[in-house]
């Protein structure tokens, strides 16, 4: 082969190898660090994996926030209207965290389907509901409507 062509071929092969390696690495790292979102109902039905970092959230249930008296350990329930998920966290909660408002936690599920959170996020302004939570609530609402409709049908 002509030396210049040979050099070009080498460069092309090198680029192909390097870019495939880079792609493989990116895909692998995305897989490792993509945190999936689960609704409380999905978690309690066992759809969410244990000991893997996930995100879960919903509306904070009224009266469910329990603070430890001698540390910053806190536990609360979030709901999507179908199921309540217990979240444990240690630390300062965000400013806009409150009962009846949306919150999303990042953490790992333990054996009892309790989320041990490493981070809790609340909405960041008055009018904002995290889309994941809004979606989950909407789905739950539609499901309930359907059930109601079906039970009414059954009564008839």
């Amino acid at each position: 082969m002509h030396p210049i062509r040979k050099q070009r071929l080498q460069i092309v092969v090198l680029i192909v190898i390097a870019s495939s390696l880079a792609t493989a690495l990116i895909v692998y790292m995305l897989g490792q660090n993509a945190n999936y979102f689960f609704t409380p109902a999905q978690v309690l039905q066992g759809e969410a994996p244990k000991n893997v970092t996930i995100r879960a959230g919903g509306m904070v249930v009224e009266g469910s926030i329990e603070r430890s008296s001698d540390s910053l350990d806190v536990s609360f329930l979030v709901t999507d209207g179908l199921a309540d998920l217990t979240i444990n966290y240690s630390g300062i909660l965000p400013d806009l965290f409150a009962e009846g408002e949306a919150a999303i936690a990042t953490g790992k599920l333990d054996g009892d389907k309790v989320l041990q959170a490493s981070q809790v996020l609340a909405k960041h302004d008055e009018n904002y509901t995290p889309p994941e939570v809004a979606d989950a609530m909407k789905q739950a609402y539609e499901l309930k409507q359907q059930e109601q409709y079906q039970s009414q049908e059954a009564k008839k």
Binding site: A34, T53, G91, I92
Partner: protein
């Protein structure tokens, strides 16, 4: 009345932009010099009318004209005047108006400072900038009119500016950032004009050099201010979150940095021509992508995008036209631009190529990590967020590679360098860096233990500074007065690279040696963190102009010597009822003491966050030096000389 005037001025500006995008461009093909000459006055006229529109909106804010929807949503009678003005760009509509104003400003600047260019070229550049203005003005008027009225139900009081935005950092951060984003429109327009004309040489590169530098400086300062604002205003001491909005600003910065370096190779040696043009296209396209990501609502959710598609779709179309159109022109004309030139393995060209490769790789991985959740959501693969480990995994090794290459690059020359010459210069800086990295981490940790990330950080910073110092010493000898003889672009480069070293030092050391405790504290409680003793003496209610707050008092001592009294606050804003954490910081170069107040607990106790952050200030100090370095390089004599000689030529003709 003021609002209608502003709206009307905006429409006139649109008309002028439309003329600007058509008349000089057509004139340049037909050879009508009078048509081409119109570009200058149209550019200035456009600036005048966008400015009138902007001032009208500002006046509406100052007069508390809550009949304007935008004003009523983002202001309040109790808001201090300077925040009323900054509220103009606090939300979507006003931000876009600021975008349009800055674009008109850059366009007018090009019109004023491009007199030395051939008329055909300057007319086309201004026409392309005009076409971009048309896109933004249409977007404003059709989908995001800031002058929309709320009639007849005029609110008595406004909803108030988001308290997070009531801050000096947020007054200057967006204009700086936009100056950078929009500034890349100038090299973009120049690249397209060059592609249309089929001519691109060293003069092109020399002309666009200072514009690229200036836009890049603004973007650097803008990102730095944003990070600094997040640090002190969000109340928990973080300064970079790999958040999509931040990524949106980092991507054009990385490509802009690559562009700045490759254009210097194009100017000096005529190499990388089509690559430089491609980078110019991408730098601006990524700026537009950033605007699209932030402004379309797609980041909060692809569903938010679908439910209010007007803005998002317009923006996406605009992005597709600009990027797609310019890439088609590039595909047609780009290859013809390339010139074969010789350079060997150890030349500055190759080092700049490595620089470009690393920067573009970093941008690509950020782009993938940022867009992947959006794509996954559209394809129904689940709701995903990509965590910081992904970004750090790629960004840290790329930065290490970049820094090593930067150290070698200062010793290389254009075309080719003797390998032995480079190998002879490297050992001393390398040894200094290795020894510092081996020893210093022991002194930085509280318990004299060694940390690998600490060592790596110190290696990178010392290596960079040592290579720069060695090069300076060789150039200057012992005669410091010779520094005046060095070119501004050389000094700017060394200053910017030193700034990067300091920034890396801040990033690495503050991440490695950060000490953060979140504690429950009752009045009188003490806590010991990194040798500092924090004493919490309780909380008092105080009142601000538009908020009331709880203010804590925390005494910080070291070895029984008073270091600082800190007063973090928990604010309740009256208008919106929003709660906000206002941290208090005792700053110094070697460490920040950062205290913020959490929530009240039982028995008068409070949740407190106490942090000691070593060298965190170096992040912004270094980044600021990077920006000043870029500014210095933009004032290089060769840019000015070129202009003078060109205008002399014109006179001679």
């Amino acid at each position: 009345m003021i609002a209608e005037l502003g709206h009307f001025a905006l429409i006139i500006a649109l008309a002028m932009a439309l003329l600007l995008s058509l008349v000089p461009m057509v004139g340049s093909f037909k050879g009508y010099s009078s048509w081409m000459r119109l570009a200058n006055s149209l550019s200035l006229g456009q600036l005048l009318f966008v400015a009138i529109s902007f001032v009208c909106l500002a006046i509406a804010f100052l007069m508390d004209d809550f009949s304007l929807k935008y004003v009523s949503q983002n202001s309040n009678t109790a808001l201090p005047d300077h925040y009323k003005i900054s509220a103009v760009w606090a939300a979507h509509e006003g931000s876009l108006l600021l975008w349009a104003l800055i674009l008109a400003g850059w366009t007018a600047a090009v019109a004023l400072f491009s007199r030395s260019l051939p008329l055909v070229l300057s007319a086309r550049i201004l026409s392309i900038l005009g076409a971009i203005s048309v896109g933004f003005a249409l977007f404003l008027i059709l989908t995001s009119n800031p002058f929309e009225r709320l009639l007849p139900m005029v609110p008595i009081e406004g909803a108030d500016l988001n308290p997070l935005l009531q801050d000096i950092g947020l007054i200057i951060h967006p204009p700086m950032l936009y100056m950078g984003y929009v500034g890349f429109a100038v090299p973009f327009a120049f690249a397209i004009a060059a592609l249309i004309g089929g001519q691109f040489d060293s003069a092109w590169a020399r002309w666009s050099g200072p514009w690229i530098n200036l836009a890049w400086v603004f973007l650097t300062i803008g990102i730095t201010l944003g990070s600094w604002w997040a640090y002190y205003e969000l109340g928990w001491g973080g300064w970079w979150f790999w958040d999509p909005v931040e990524n949106a600003s980092l991507m054009p910065w990385l490509v802009g940095t690559a562009l700045m370096h490759s254009v210097s190779a194009t100017e000096k040696r005529g190499v990388f021509r089509s690559w430089t043009l491609l980078l110019a296209i991408f730098a601006f396209s990524l700026s537009l992508l950033g605007t699209f990501l932030v402004r379309s609502g797609i980041l909060t959710s692809v569903h938010a995008f679908a439910s209010d598609p007007e803005r998002g779709v317009f923006m996406l179309m605009f992005l597709a036209i600009v990027t797609g159109g310019s890439l088609i022109i590039f595909a047609l004309r780009g290859p013809a631009m390339q010139k074969v030139s010789a350079y060997s393995g150890w030349s500055r060209e190759v080092m700049l190529l490595i620089n470009n490769l690393i920067l573009v790789s970093a941008m690509t991985m950020i782009l993938i990590g940022t867009l992947y959740p959006l794509v996954a959501d559209v394809l129904d693969l689940g709701k995903i967020s990509v965590g910081p480990p992904y970004f750090n995994f790629f960004f840290v090794p790329l930065t290490v590679g970049l820094v090593i290459a930067m150290g070698i690059a200062v010793f290389t020359r254009w075309k080719s360098t003797e390998v032995n010459l480079i190998l002879g210069k490297i050992p001393v800086p390398f040894l200094v860096a290795i020894i510092s990295a081996g020893i210093l981490p022991f002194y930085l940790s509280v318990d004299y233990s060694y940390s690998i990330t600490g060592g790596l950080t110190i290696f990178m910073s010392v290596w960079l500074v040592a290579t720069i110092a060695k090069d300076l010493i060789e150039k200057l000898g012992i005669n410091l007065k010779r520094i005046a003889k060095l070119s501004h672009s050389y000094l700017g480069m060394q200053l910017a690279h030193t700034g990067l070293a300091i920034c890396i030092l801040g990033v690495g050391l503050s991440s490695t040696y950060d000490q953060t405790r979140e504690l429950r504290m009752a009045p009188g409680d003490k806590a010991l963190i990194a040798g500092y003793e924090f004493t919490f003496s309780g909380v008092n209610p105080i009142a601000g102009p538009n908020f009331s707050a709880f203010q804590a008092q925390i005494k910080v001592t070291k070895n029984n010597q008073l270091v600082a009294n800190l007063f973090p606050e928990k604010r309740h804003y009256n208008a919106g009822g929003q709660v906000m954490t206002e941290a208090d910081i005792d700053p110094s170069i070697t460490r920040d003491i950062y205290v913020s107040l959490g929530e009240p607990l039982a028995d008068g106790a409070w949740a407190l966050s106490l942090q000691v952050k070593p060298f965190v200030r170096c992040i912004w100090l270094g980044a600021l030096m990077v920006g000043i370095g870029g500014l210095l390089a933009a004032t290089d004599r060769r840019y000015r000389r070129r202009r003078q000689s060109a205008s002399n030529n014109e006179v001679a003709l």
